[in-house]
Amino acid sequence: MDLHLSPEQTLLVESARSFLSRVWSLERTRAIEASPSGFDRHLWLQMAELGWLGIALPQGFGGSEQTFLEATLLLEEMGRALLPSPFVPCVVVAAPLVQALGSAEQQRRWLPLIAAGRAIATLALVEPGWRDEWRRPEVRALREGTRLRLRGRKCFVPYAESADLTIVAVTIEGEGPSVLAIDREIPGCSYSRLDTFGGEPQFDMEFDVAVPATTLLGKPGEAGAEIDNACQRAMVASLAFMVGASERVLEMTVEYAKTRSQFGRPIGSFQAVAHRCVDMRSDIDALRYLVYQAAWNIASGKVDALEVAAAKAYGNEALRRIYMNAHQVHGAIGFSMEYDLQLFTRRAKAVELQWGSTSFHLERVAARMGLE
């Protein structure tokens, strides 16, 4: 047992922090949120050069051969910088799906491109009417000779318009949950951007297309477990982003409490205000170690562990408390668009709403406690 980062991990964190503080700012976050692609392609290529985009991939694919834990440490730093990018859908979700399910040829085709920053990948999973948890896809794929006819609608697909590779979760008639790797070149998918507040571009996708059966990733009907694994990775990764973001928000909040004066003294000298800051500290610390523990479990192959679900069950509630405390300490100014707090608050709510509600994850915890 040791909750310290290793010297290599510390170095990774420090270099990521110094790089991001040099190249990124909250003004850039505002500008990029308003842009069509929702991320900075130039910076994306720099991240590839740093080895971030292939962080957990084998060297043979241009990867850095680190683990999921190192990916979460990077995400914490991206959260601190509030850097919008397709890192979670592309690096955390899609690349490992290709790695786990894809044929040697599919791996060779996509993984080096992803690691090099030259292909963006995403996952089309959610369907209209789903609340939060992943379930059996209703988008069907029907066999038509050597082709699969894909019809239906997916929603909340992140960065879909920029994606060179879209992994689509479908049910193949008579065979069960499967995933298809759909190339940008294949016509018959239409996109429309959703008007969301979360700070990352999300799309509706309509499919009416016949694709070669060779687009299947892995055996038909056997993708269920890997889709679930991908959701758990995405969940922990998004939380790690919010740990970094929340640490930054705590710094802003404490600074405000020290400098804002009312009744002739800094508001941070009032216990009622100071204790809200302490509650933020306490929630962020708990969330950070729950996230590390979850990431460590995932990196050790225990994606299904109680400890993984525990992170989101705590995280959802903690994020609400952290951000409402930050707003309460800031008073009216925190509600204005010109002040930076709103950038973080919107993202926190988006993370809460993705990858499983509190009750969904509490139910997973209960099942793993043996409560059947």
Binding site: D2, L250, A274, A310, M369, G370
Partner: protein
């Protein structure tokens, strides 16, 4: 980062569990019960631990220890607290009284006071709070006047744990310089409880007997060689001691044990033809406890990781304590809710579910956010030392 114990540490935990199964009598319900067998049992138990080298395993060999790792020590604490602290009052010797003597004591004091602790034959109480000095501990008024061969103590202490055990010694915070600013006129004396002029009055609490006492000092003579550390530097010793104490109780482990007991209970108890474990509300509430247990355990492990590197966690210990204490209270409340009316039965009633564990969890934790520095005092420490906010008033 590594979130697993080593195989050797896991073996040690198993060994401890087997030892506890063998050594703890069926009637053991922790300290605060009306039962004359309790104190002799804790003495026997500590001597058994001492014989195996486990009582002070983390201490250096010259003081009767084995230099065991802080993680083994943590495992020991977890198993002890999970079993309602069968060391009884002596856990305090290991947690902070011994370490304070090691850190601030003279060679003579170390030779005199540490070996009996290592052998498990001595009981200490603490004299910190006074009727007029609770959260504002530095305002204590119990006076130690310097005389030719030592000090003469007059005053009153309150909420002293186990003083009626009877305790052999008292770790006593006194005022030695009334003219100095309040934090700078304090000292710590190590007082023989058999000295003439000392009276102990037990205070029965909601938790039961033994926990709380008043101690009156009436012209009590304390020799000079019983002053710990420098005169008028006692505040430093007491704050270090309290930080050791906060990091030194594995409260989450007891909460975790009660969660396990409740999990078994809802699997075995049927309501409307279904196990309680199938009830959605019950499942969610137990899962919520388990999640909070994970958070508390990890924050304790963070503090221990710092200790493993030779650092003294202060802010981290306070944050861990916030989670520990609130978890312990929540487990008591939710546990009672799950038991329903059965929760009203005390451990004295043979029908009490889970031998009254949940009742004890609830009642013993009412003051958990008060003892060793209230929740609010912990938050003040974190605000000032962790966040750099202005001093709180």
């Amino acid at each position: 980062m590594d979130f697993a114990f080593t195989p050797e540490e896991e073996r040690f935990r198993q060994e401890l569990k087997e030892f506890l199964r063998r050594e703890l009598p069926e009637w053991w319900r922790g300290m605060f019960v009306h039962d004359d067998r309790v104190f002799p049992q804790t003495r026997r138990f500590c001597q058994e631990l001492a014989e195996r080298g486990w009582l002070t395993m983390a201490w250096p060999p010259e003081h009767g220890g084995q230099n065991a790792s802080v993680w083994k020590q943590a495992i020991l604490r977890e198993e002890m607290w999970a079993h309602e602290e069968p060391r009884g009052p002596q856990y305090m010797n290991l947690n902070y009284i011994g370490p304070c003597i090691m850190r601030y004591g003279t060679e003579e004091q170390k030779r005199r006071f540490l070996p009996p602790m290592a052998k498990g034959t001595v009981i200490w109480t603490q004299g910190f709070s006074e009727p007029e000095a609770g959260s504002d501990l530095a305002s204590v008024r119990t006076r130690a006047e310097e005389v030719a061969d030592g000090f003469v103590v007059n005053g009153q202490k309150i909420w002293s744990s186990y003083a009626d055990a009877p305790a052999d010694w008292c770790f006593l915070l006194v005022r030695t310089d009334p003219s100095a600013p309040k934090h700078r006129g304090l000292s710590v004396l190590l007082v023989d409880m058999r000295t003439p002029g000392i009276t102990v009055r037990p205070i029965d609490s909601m938790a039961g007997p033994h926990e709380l006492n008043e101690i009156f000092f009436d012209d009590v003579k304390v020799p000079r060689n019983c002053l710990l550390g420098e005169k008028n530097r006692g505040w430093e010793i007491v704050t270090a001691g309290l930080a050791f104490e906060r990091a030194g109780i594995a409260r989450y482990a007891r909460a975790g044990r009660v969660i396990e007991l409740l999990t078994e209970y809802v699997q075995q108890t049927h309501c409307d033809g279904q196990p309680l474990a199938a009830n959605l509300d019950v499942r969610r509430k137990l899962a919520e406890l388990r999640v909070r247990y994970e958070a508390a355990r990890l924050l304790n492990y963070r503090a221990i990781s710092l200790q493993a590197r030779g650092q003294v966690p202060v802010v981290e210990a306070s944050i861990a304590r916030l989670h520990n204490t609130q978890l312990e209270q929540l487990v008591g409340h939710v546990g009672m809710e799950i038991l329903g009316l059965g929760g009203l039965l005390t451990h004295a009633d043979p029908q009490a579910p889970l031998s009254g564990s949940v009742y004890r969890q609830w009642v013993r934790n009412i003051p958990t956010t008060i003892a060793a520095g209230t929740l609010e005092i912990q938050k003040n420490i974190i605000a000032a030392q962790g966040l750099g906010l202005p001093r709180q008033r």
